[in-house]
Symmetry: C2
Subunit: 127 residues, 2 copies
């Protein structure tokens, strides 16, 4: 019997004290990390039921279908959970850019360390 | 003048109320998502200073150099920040498996929906 959380086939997502679980969103065709977002139970259920990516906006304190205003929707291809089930990976087909700044990925800046402190460098290509 | 948080070249990581920031760890050669972890300021500074991946263990409440007991160390290739600087991507060269269960990635289980509820399927290959 596989009963440990790392080996079980039961899906038991661990939401935090705030009712949220973190989701790393990756692109199906390239594996590129597009964004990090948060889901509550309702966002997770709606994503599984509809195949569209739904999240919880911590800044707006509201449920949110990705792309509902921008049109930059995400079609859920696969949902994965990590070993201790306190983080998810949502593999998506992304329409348009994922980032609200119109970059493909939200991770468009690289940290470079300099003698006078860390600075950011923009890398706005697909990489 | 680029002053917005989305356009600035100042590295201003936003740690949460608990002093932590979430980090998606990806493999340099494949872009595969290996794990999600957390850093406090000290873990971030040590990662930038040494090139080894340091995290904060929420379960053990301790600073932790990845691989210090297992030998499965991570060499930091690139550190990225997202648009609103409340999440990081650490691109690494991974020695051995990233997951403490000896899988390459912590995300080795896929959520399958069924009429009697969501179940997990193991996908333990590199995919």
């Amino acid at each position: 019997m596989q009963d440990s959380i790392e080996e079980t086939t039961d899906f038991r997502p661990k939401f935090g004290a705030d009712g949220l679980i973190v989701v790393a969103v990756t692109e199906a065709s390239t594996r590129q990390l597009l964004m990090l977002a948060w889901m509550n139970r309702e966002a997770l259920d709606k994503t599984l039921a509809t195949g569209d990516a739904w999240y919880w906006s911590r800044s707006r304190q509201a449920l949110w279908r990705k792309g509902e205003t921008s049109g930059h929707v995400q079609k859920a291809v696969e949902l994965r959970t990590d070993c201790d089930q306190d983080a998810l990976e949502l593999v998506v087909e992304q329409t348009g850019p994922a980032c609200h700044t119109d970059r493909k990925s939200c991770f468009y800046r690289v940290v470079k360390t300099a003698e006078n402190g860390a600075r950011l460098v923009f890398k706005e290509t697909a990489d």
